[in-house]
């Protein structure tokens, strides 16, 4: 198996002196395997950047590049380690010996419901997603969660009917689906969590008073005049206002 720096010369992407030019003096290379294929990439790159460095054009498995959208779920193993690791490609640095694959999509059935007709309790969630009660407490979901959510404990809160707590615990879920791939009970955690957050938001969480007030003001057409003035102000004024807003400065309406 190749594994020494000399073999770099054989690769198409980093051949000959070009390597030095790309990396600069003193930069280290690490060996990674993408879907079983051997590559060497500069240390310090994220997985996303490493894949692009290698010439992959990412169509699926990439999104916001900022750790929020959950599109770039990646699984990997390391040398001499039996564990399966998971993380977001855009947030994880490559490591020497990483054996990785990106998960472009996690198939899961999403149950259809009308949130207006539901009651905010655990039974409603279990009626829509009865497989939740198949949890055997293996904790594989928690171990694989890139967001460090206590996934198993959250599922357990739902079983005992505490959906408010579950919604708060699952707040950081980005629906990457790693947990559902690993679950021996075949629970679709990310859809279940979406449902409890919706129930929590609609029925349990305190309403945002300032939002209600602003919506009412808009409906009463309070800002129509300001909006008209803004439309008429023209591109130069827009630019000036946009720059101010970006700096968090007060903008007069």
């Amino acid at each position: 198996m190749p594994g020494t720096v000399e073999t770099i010369k054989d690769t198409k992407l980093v051949e000959g002196k070009a390597v030095e030019g790309v990396l600069g003096a003193g930069k280290k290379l690490v060996t990674i395997y993408v879907m079983g294929k051997w590559y060497q990439v500069p240390a310090g790159l994220t997985i996303t950047k490493a894949l692009e460095y290698l010439g992959y054009r990412l169509v699926r498995g990439v999104g916001c590049r900022a750790g929020f959208c959950g599109a770039c779920t990646t699984l990997w193993v390391k040398k001499n380690d039996y564990k399966l690791y998971s993380g977001l490609a855009c947030q994880t640095m490559v490591e020497d010996g990483m054996y990785l694959v990106q998960i472009p999509f996690v198939p899961a059935e999403k149950r259809i419901y009308n949130i207006e007709e539901l009651e905010p309790n655990g039974s409603v969630v279990l009626a829509l997603y009865p497989e939740v009660t198949r949890c055997i407490g293996c904790n594989a979901c928690t171990k694989v969660c890139p967001q460090e959510i206590q996934v198993m404990d959250t599922i357990q809160e739902i079983i005992r009917g505490n959906i408010a707590k579950a919604a708060r615990m699952a707040f950081d879920c980005i629906s990457c689906g790693s947990c559902s791939l690993r679950c021996p009970a075949e629970i679709k955690h990310f859809y279940v969590f979406q449902l409890v957050r919706r129930l929590y938001g609609k029925y349990i969480a305190p309403k945002a008073k300032h939002l209600e007030k602003r919506v009412k003001e808009i409906e009463e057409r309070k800002y129509d005049g300001a909006l008209d003035r803004l439309i008429r102000a023209g591109p130069d004024k827009w630019r000036e206002l946009a720059e101010k807003a970006q700096k968090d400065e007060e903008v007069e309406t």
Binding site: G122, S123, C135, I136, G137, N139, M152, Q156, R160, G161
Partner: protein, 286 residues
């Protein structure tokens, strides 16, 4: 004493938890709920691959062990209210300490948790009343004896089988009747005292459960019972729903033993309002 609640007493059997924990407080038992717990795992004693089903109860036992160490609780008791939780946790504990093969597989799989030392003593609510508090102490606090109230006890199967975890003689249990006599109630012999309510068949073949509920209720009604006493939330659920299916309403209410104790010692605050009213109405008719 550490306390493992289980999902049911937090969801459908809230009146059980309220009354049971209230009574323990009255008798000076300091109950601390586990800071972390998951579903007991509803361990089915006859399933083939028992190691897999043992993961959830073992995790709970390990967390109980950790918390007992952290809080320096040296009695190592783990209180359960639900019969199913009692059965699952206790069976898993016994399997772990008696079966090397299972213990080895569990240790290998649960390497994200501390090692279980096998010290946790899973104990059911009735055992605490009987063995730790003592029925005599309950007698001393009696203010409303349930004079003339005819009841049938329903143990269900989870407290009595298998034999190794039974809280009393599986064929002729007396632990509940003894307490009911102290409360002043009259217990009636009937054939279903230690019968299974058919438990989770309710999710797969509910008609069998409705039939069983019908049999138990009719037998008890024939003998003149005014209510059924249990400590198992699953029995209570199946019997209540079964009666609704068979008779259109609940003809013979199911009460937790803890609710009767709370009433008998005059601690109404541990009873849910509607349950208290129901019990008072039954006693008026006696």
């Amino acid at each position: 004493m550490l306390y493992y609640p289980g999902c049911t007493v937090k969801a459908t059997a809230i009146e059980y938890e309220k009354s049971a924990l209230g009574i323990l407080k009255e008798f000076g038992i300091n109950v601390i709920e586990l800071e972390r717990w998951i579903c007991c795992g509803i361990y089915h004693g006859l399933t083939v691959d028992t190691a897999y089903q043992t993961v959830a109860p073992m995790r709970n036992l390990i967390w109980a062990q950790n918390q007992a160490e952290k809080l320096s609780i040296d009695n190592n008791y783990l209180l359960t209210l639900c019969s199913m939780c009692y059965n699952t946790l206790k069976s898993a504990h016994l399997r772990y300490i008696n079966d090397e093969n299972i213990a080895k597989r569990i240790k290998a799989f649960l390497n994200d948790e501390s090692l279980y030392k096998g010290n946790i003593k899973v104990i059911h609510f009735i055992q605490i009343l009987n063995e730790i508090i003592g029925y005599d102490k309950i007698k001393e606090k009696l203010v409303n004896p349930l004079k003339g109230l005819k009841v049938v006890p329903l143990y269900g199967c989870m407290l009595l089988r298998p034999n190794e975890i039974a809280i009393d003689n599986p064929e002729n249990p007396q632990i509940m009747q003894n307490l009911l006599h102290i409360l002043g109630a009259e217990t009636i012999n009937y054939p279903y005292v230690n019968q299974c309510c058919l438990s989770y068949l309710v999710t797969k073949r509910p008609y069998l459960v409705w039939k069983r509920a019908d049999d138990i209720t009719n037998s008890a009604l024939d003998k003149g019972a005014k209510l059924i006493v249990t400590t198992c939330p699953l029995c209570a659920y199946n019997l209540t729903e079964g009666q609704k299916k068979s008779f259109g309403s609940v003809k013979l209410p199911i009460f937790y033993e803890s609710e009767l104790i709370a009433y008998a010692i005059g601690k109404y605050e541990y009873l849910k309002k509607d349950r208290l009213n129901m019990l008072e109405n039954i006693l008026k008719g006696v």
